[in-house]
Symmetry: C2
Subunit: 322 residues, 2 copies
């Protein structure tokens, strides 16, 4: 359970939540348990997703399932047993972490003295709405990877990005604002503004993530580059490139994408083709457009240091290299 | 997600919770959302455990991961891909169901009008205490299956049974009583009594489960018989038999237990040996003793129809054939 936390991530979600709390006049300290909750929530989904996506690397270290395959000798297991054991530990560690966010949110009442309705509402939203979007998004991500590119629509690509990534970002905006305002009213104009801001930023984040997944330096990124191609993931850069490809280029893309046997060289030539066809530059433009929109929806918010920090936070999403 | 519910289980946990609510003077209807919560909580753990234990059968039907291996042709996957896909669906379906109990418990406030502190406390206990016991119990169950029998103590065997099974039973007693009494006070004498009753019954249930896992009729049980032997599970009947076995019998037991290649015939001869050595009859005695103790801890409860029903419920745990 502690494996990923010993080498922490970027804390984008908890920072967003804390800034949203302060931006509506709340106190950062009040929202700390919720900030911890979203980071832990994110982490347990990573542990399960890494098994699902067969990723061996995360934050520059072995993923949980990969780590426990290494118990092979200690427990005198066959390689097949060890493979299963790695999956077992990843499932159980993720499941156990899944319980913590509710416990952290509980502290908003027991330690921070907020009315119990607030954590109860926050738990309810996280464990129904957000969880369903996230897992249904992940399920589609997997199932669509077995489909040919041409049957997926641009709306489906965008909706998956929202579900699997932006939904949790939007929750950070919502939770931060509700805590800062000490309310359970989701229709409060500032709550809606920060919810939209976080949601649009989440899409931009995912687009940048898919770009980095193709062209980043693997050592800086800390996770495998190009594996989305092998896994057949229908990312925006691939989708946009495919749309304008010639019939021969389409055949070439379809022969490599989703083929578990694709080698490094083939993957690299697909990345090059995506770049040539403008899939990367067009994706960058769309990510920037989302950030612009995110700035705009912030207009109901009074000017403050925290509003500025939200701008900085959002622009960092696109300049990051990992 | 709906697969297991279409062929429901025995509803032992929700029934226990509802009876405990009524036994302290509460109204059954008030506790219904919590009853649904414990059944769904139990179900998501089954989906993950079935993958971990490589069980192909549950309630007489294929388990979730087994079911989705069947998508092999539809998604044009290789058998290896299909195996991974089955695991993927089982993980995601379990994860999604894991969110529902919090949502159901939320309704104790939003629909049933209980003070929000009660569902908040119930969610907190379920998602921290109970969840950790359950998953740590499952983890030990798996890890100990790679260990030789002689290094496990009788206390460890009992503690695993408590953690992986009785913890959730004890929660049903606790939750039913807290809801019935409209309190969050875990030290109330009736809450403590029902908590202990449920906890002792849970151990008895698990002992009976392990006995049935050796000698039941597979068609009635609805899940594989003898697979605990192959998986190397350190169940009470095996443990008690091993303790009194001769050196030659010990060697025989150790050669079959935990050996994935053990055939039907070898498994059957292990079951016969466990029976001859008194492992089954001694386990039955212990299960009965736990039920007797469970009756005794109920003494603070005033006599009522519901107290009688709790007795009936507990005695059914041992007479059941599935």
């Amino acid at each position: 359970m502690g494996w990923h936390f010993r080498k922490p991530g970027k804390f984008l979600r908890p920072v967003l939540l804390l800034l949203c709390c302060e931006a509506v006049g709340g106190e950062e300290g009040m929202a700390l348990p919720a900030a911890a909750a979203v980071e832990v929530f994110h982490t347990w989904t990573l542990i399960h997703d890494d098994w699902i996506d067969r990723s061996a690397l995360r934050r520059g270290r072995p993923t949980v399932h990969e780590l426990f395959v290494g118990w092979e000798k200690e427990l005198q297991m066959s390689p097949r047993e060890a493979h299963h054991f790695g999956g077992t530990v990843a499932i159980l560690a993720g499941d156990l972490l899944h319980g913590l966010p509710s416990s952290f949110l509980h502290r908003l009442h027991s330690e921070k003295g907020l009315p119990p309705e607030i954590p109860l509402t926050l738990i309810h939203i996280l464990e129904t709405e957000i969880l369903s979007h996230l897992l249904i998004g992940e399920m589609k991500d997997v199932v669509y990877s077995y489909f040919p590119i041409e049957v997926i629509s641009s709306q489906q690509v965008r909706w998956i990005m929202w579900q699997k990534t932006a939904a949790l970002f939007s929750y950070c905006g919502l939770a931060g604002a509700l805590i800062g305002l000490r309310t359970t009213d989701r229709n409060h104009p500032l709550v809606k503004a920060l919810n939209s801001f976080a949601s649009l930023s989440g899409i931009a984040f995912q687009i940048q993530d898919d770009i980095l997944g193709l062209i980043a330096d693997e050592k800086i990124l800390g996770k495998p580059v190009g594996s989305d191609i092998r896994e057949g993931k229908k990312t925006l850069p691939l989708y946009l490139a495919y749309r304008v490809a010639s019939p021969a280029q389409k055949r070439f893309l379809s022969s490599i994408v989703g083929n578990q046997k694709s080698g490094e060289k083939e993957i690299q030539s697909v990345v090059e083709l995506i770049r040539e066809l403008g899939g990367i530059s067009e994706s960058q433009k769309r990510a920037e457009r989302h950030i612009q929109q995110a700035y705009e929806v912030l207009h109901p918010l009074p000017p403050s240091r925290y509003k500025e920090l939200l701008h900085e936070w959002a622009s960092h999403l696109l300049s990051r290299e990992f």
